[in-house]
């Protein structure tokens, strides 16, 4: 506990480019960028695959690969290949690792919609796109949001590890602390990342409350 007091009580940790606010902002920037890119790719793709049933194998492969691929190894390899010192390459593994949870859950959500419901929607004269947007998406929304939540948490987590390959953000406290054996910084950084991850989790739960129709939430 006194480590925590040492970390958070130190005025030097609250200002400047190495301060907590600046690091938090960096962390949020990278995470948001990676998350948005991943969502823009994976949500439409998952909806399309779920709706048409074509490309389901891609989803299975993505799901398994995402779990098996070691984050750290991927980060180190991509950054070494792209050249140390630039930020953009670090985004690649962040995006790559965020895509599978969104893809898988969006796909499962859309595919899992009751066949009768689909049938009724077509039977009433909705066109393919209307069926997807007006029927399948609202009903699949809880799972789509779950995928987005898992991806967001994953991005925050990977961005922390990415400090090792030179990315800024809250991970710096942990990585630098480990290098210099300043364990107060390690623990302080860990607590900050944990708080951020929980905040992200909480934000998505709130979003779920607001965005999902009560008629759908009850069924699950």
């Amino acid at each position: 506990m006194n480590w925590l007091a040492g970390f958070f009580g130190d005025a030097a940790h609250w200002s400047g480019p190495d301060g907590i606010p600046a690091r938090l902002l960096e962390h949020l920037e990278f995470s948001a960028a990676a998350f948005l890119i991943a969502a823009l790719i994976a949500v439409p793709l998952g909806m399309l695959i779920g709706h048409t049933g074509r490309g389901a194998l891609l989803v299975v492969i993505a799901a398994n690969a995402a779990r098996a691929l070691p984050t750290l190894g991927l980060l180190v390899l991509v950054v070494l290949l792209a050249g140390v010192g630039t930020v953009l390459p670090v985004l690649i593994p962040l995006v790559v690792l965020a895509i599978p949870p969104i893809l898988v859950n969006t796909y499962e959500g859309v595919r899992g919609v009751d066949a009768d419901l689909r049938d009724a929607a077509y039977g009433m004269g909705l066109r393919g796109r209307q069926v997807l947007l007006q029927t399948l998406t609202p009903v699949a929304l809880p799972l789509i949001l779950l995928g987005l939540r898992l991806a967001a948490v994953q991005v925050v987590s990977t961005a922390t590890v990415a400090a090792f390959v030179g990315l800024g953000g809250l991970g710096r406290f942990i990585i630098d602390g480990l290098a210099t054996k300043t364990y107060a910084d390690v623990i302080g950084g860990a607590v900050l990342v944990a708080a951020l991850a929980l905040a992200v989790q909480f934000a998505f739960l709130l979003l779920d409350r607001v965005a999902v129709s009560p008629g759908v939430r009850q069924i699950r």
């Binding site: 009724a120 039977g123 009433m124 609202p138």
Partner: protein, 361 residues
Amino acid sequence: MITFEDVTKRYRDGTVAVDGLSLEASTGAITVFVGPSGCGKTTSLRMINRMIDATSGRITLDGQDVREIDPPTLRRGIGYVIQQAGLFPHRKIVDNVATVPYLLGWSKKKARSRAMELLELVGLDPALAGRFPFQLSGGQQQRVGVARALAADPPVLLMDEPFSAVDPIVRASLQDELLRLQLELRKTIVFVTHDIDEAVKLGDTVAVMRVGGRLAQMAGPATLLTEPADDFVREFLGRDRGIRRLSFISAKEMRLSPSPSDLVIDEDGRALGWRTADGLAAYGTFNPETDSLRVALDAALLSPNGTAVAVDEEGRVRGVAGRDSIDKLLGEYAPPATGPAPGGSGGGSSSGAGDSEGAPA
């Protein structure tokens, strides 16, 4: 009018779901497709609104080939009700009912007020409008399904086993409701069921289909009961065809006798019972204006002396019908002779049925 002209549906794996089907579903009437599972009845229904496209042949709707119409446009003009109602779980009841009006570009206000009218029409409490589907019972959901199908006032209604997932009591009330609605709306309805009793109750015309997608017989329910075309139809219709047929004969022409002195009647003209040595005995009544011969016969069987009491709408006694009157009416409606008599009714015979080749599986 909906016309099937030599319609066949063959799947890529070679299975034939519907085989050379030709029939007509009259405007303003209920046509029921009935048959065992695998007989192609649902496929036939779904070819009308092009949920499935026929492999060959033609289906026309008031003379126009349905294949000339873009499917979504076609479907918006045809009401569609399915087994589990298929309500949108994320939309409130009122918006579920207003789905097609919204698609047709009605204003929200107009669509919703139309939806409210329809909820009332199908006998639902308007207070349910703001609920979500999961908050309704199966029977209520099915009523919403019917309301939704009627929302844009389509001339044609397709119903695919709409009442088979609810319990028998609810099913009976939904059937009665449909018949009541139909008296008012006069839609062209095609109704699919595997339940022959439902078919006979609802259908103005019943098309019995056999496995392999062939039409076995198409007729009015009374004709179907008295003159089944072959063993398959006879088997499918089941027992008690003779009794069930009486449901389609009106008791209007029953010759009534003045009520005898042993029928005790109160000052309002309502019957209290038959006088017997042990006190008053039970009696059965029928209304000759609205009831069938089956009800009259049933009423007679419920009285100790075999005499049915005829009453008017208010329940006042108008006379009685004894066995002789009932017998006479029965005789007038005896089924026509059709060549050599086909073997019995099939029911209750003590000898094994193994000698005949049996029904197709």
